[in-house]
């Protein structure tokens, strides 16, 4: 694959982000110098536990909770599995019921389907055309046997932001009259860089995060577990993480994640503003200059770095690869990449027709995205779309 020598224009930050150099520098000593096991009592081990404690404080500050409520995991997929399986394991009722939405990340949806096979009842709440959940529908879905409500804070494909705090209020009210309290979880993986993640304001009992989505390292994540929440561990072994998650801690990863939360809270407002401006330039110019292009999802309730656009009568993967030849990395929710022929479940959930869903491209900006990057996309994209349309049998 021949590419230009210029550094790539990376517009796939919802997939992953580069580790911030400051984060990397903080992590480095914990590979070779302070390599101790934080569970060891000796001085070498103590160096590691001190670093982990500091990271735990950084994350707790960020989420507005106690340090004892932070559980480090291997990432959001583990955190989300922990939520679903752990809450069900702790639930002491016959046929427990979970409420979620149709536009969750696959690690929630796939786990829910797995649990359904084991007799758990799941309600998948629909969203409107913009991808927003109706809070009333949450209220109406609550049943006697409901044990958990899990709703994604901001969607990974179309960036739609859900009214988590409002849902938190509804659940709080419902719980006042209930013996078996409903537990409320949000997957905040995509939201962390841009939205307020204070767990008290959101009214959540559980919240999942992943390090590599906000300039931290891969392979490390967090589950916030509010004190007193009924959840059983799903990974057994040692007594790490308040006896909730066994396994030697990923010390460098945890140190990096801690630093990344600190940087994020410092830069959030300015970064959001800058990215939203560039993102709007991208969306508006594409919609204006490329015929039959449409924005997927909401204009208003949208992460500032997300643009998801569909182009009629062509296929997303082809657009993505042509952009890649130009040194531009974007992503597609297209089926071909996932090995099935089913288009994105999120686009189908917001009412996009199957044939249109296939022609969608997701651009997700990051803190280092420049105006020149966006202009380059705007320069190379129209001829790509034109060429693919010429090739298409659909006229």
């Amino acid at each position: 694959m021949s590419r230009q020598d210029a550094p790539p224009i990376y517009l796939d930050h919802a997939a992953t982000t580069p580790v911030d150099p400051e984060v990397f520098a903080t992590m480095k000593p914990y590979f070779t110098e302070h390599y101790g096991n934080p569970a060891s009592i000796h001085t070498v081990g103590q160096k590691a536990i001190i670093a982990v404690d500091e990271a735990r404080e950084q994350v707790a500050d960020f989420l507005g909770c106690k340090t004892g409520e932070i559980i480090f995991t291997s990432g959001a997929t583990e955190s989300n599995n922990f939520v679903l399986k752990g809450v069900l394991a702790a639930a002491k009722i016959q046929k427990p019921h979970i409420i979620t939405s149709t536009i969750e990340h696959p690690c929630i949806l796939d786990t829910c389907q797995h649990l359904e096979k084991r007799g758990v009842e799941v309600t998948y709440l629909p969203v409107d055309k913009e991808g927003v959940l109706n809070t009333k529908s949450v209220q109406e879905a609550i049943k006697e046997n409901t044990v958990l409500v899990t709703i994604i804070y901001a969607n990974n494909e179309i960036g739609t932001i859900q009214p988590i705090a409002e849902i938190g209020e509804i659940i709080k009210k419902a719980n006042q009259e209930r013996k078996n309290k409903i537990i409320f979880h949000t997957d905040a993986v995509q939201a962390i860089q841009y939205l307020d993640c204070n767990v008290k304001k959101l009214g959540v009992d559980l919240l999942s995060l992943s390090g590599h989505k906000f300039y931290g390292p891969k392979g490390v994540g967090v589950l916030f577990v509010k004190e007193g929440t009924l959840i059983e561990k799903i990974q057994h072994g040692g007594h790490q993480e308040y006896n909730k998650r066994a396994g030697t801690l990923n010390v460098p990863g945890i140190v990096g994640l801690g630093k990344a939360t600190e940087l994020t809270s410092k830069n959030r407002v300015a970064d959001s503003k800058k990215q939203q401006k560039l993102r709007d330039l991208l969306i508006n110019s594409i919609l204006k200059n490329i015929p039959d292009s449409h924005l997927n999802g909401s204009n208003k309730h949208r992460l500032p770095n997300n643009a998801n656009i569909r182009f009629d009568k062509i296929e997303g993967e082809s657009i993505m690869l042509h952009l890649d030849f130009e040194g531009i990395a974007v992503s597609t929710g297209s089926a071909c990449t996932s090995g099935t022929l089913e288009p994105s479940h999120v686009l189908l959930a917001i009412g996009v027709a199957k044939e249109q869903a296939h022609g969608s491209i997701r651009f997700t900006l990051g803190k280092d995205t420049s105006e020149a990057d966006i202009k380059k996309v705007l320069e190379v994209l129209p001829p790509i779309v034109k060429k693919l349309r010429q090739m298409s049998p659909l006229k």
């Binding site: 296929e315 089926a335 071909c336 199957k354 044939e355 296939h358 090739m391 049998p393």
Partner: protein, 121 residues
């Protein structure tokens, strides 16, 4: 990859002798092959011109382009024998999840030939 970036024999043919269309837009792949049929020196029917129109992923476009190269000049009897495996081999292999794309190309060609035959009974 060249067959994806700069595909050969792209577009439609005016007054084609046969057209084969496979796939459907809802599964994301649709392929249309157009053929013109002539005679070779031995008087056998051969594909004298061929072109494609495809909406689909990179593999679908590349296999479309490849099959037009492979089929051009072949007799109908030879062309009908082209299998998805042949196309994939010519492209130096396709990942397993993309093999259905080369199926599409082989099927489209068979359909185009069948279309020609049904019109010229």
């Amino acid at each position: 990859m060249d067959h994806f970036r700069d595909p050969h024999n792209m577009g439609s043919i005016k007054d084609p002798d046969g057209v084969g269309e496979v796939g459907n837009p809802s599964c994301g792949d649709i392929m249309k092959l157009y053929i013109k049929v002539g005679k070779n020196e031995a008087g056998k029917e051969k594909i004298s011109d061929i072109s494609f129109e495809t909406m689909g992923c990179a593999a679908a476009i590349a296999t479309s382009s490849m099959i037009t190269d492979m089929a051009l000049g072949k007799t109908l009897a030879e062309a009908i024998e082209i299998t998805n495996q042949n196309i994939a081999e010519k492209l130096d292999g396709l990942p397993p999840t993309k093999m259905h794309c080369s199926n599409l190309a082989a099927d489209a060609l068979k359909k185009a030939i069948a279309d020609y035959k049904s019109k010229n009974k």
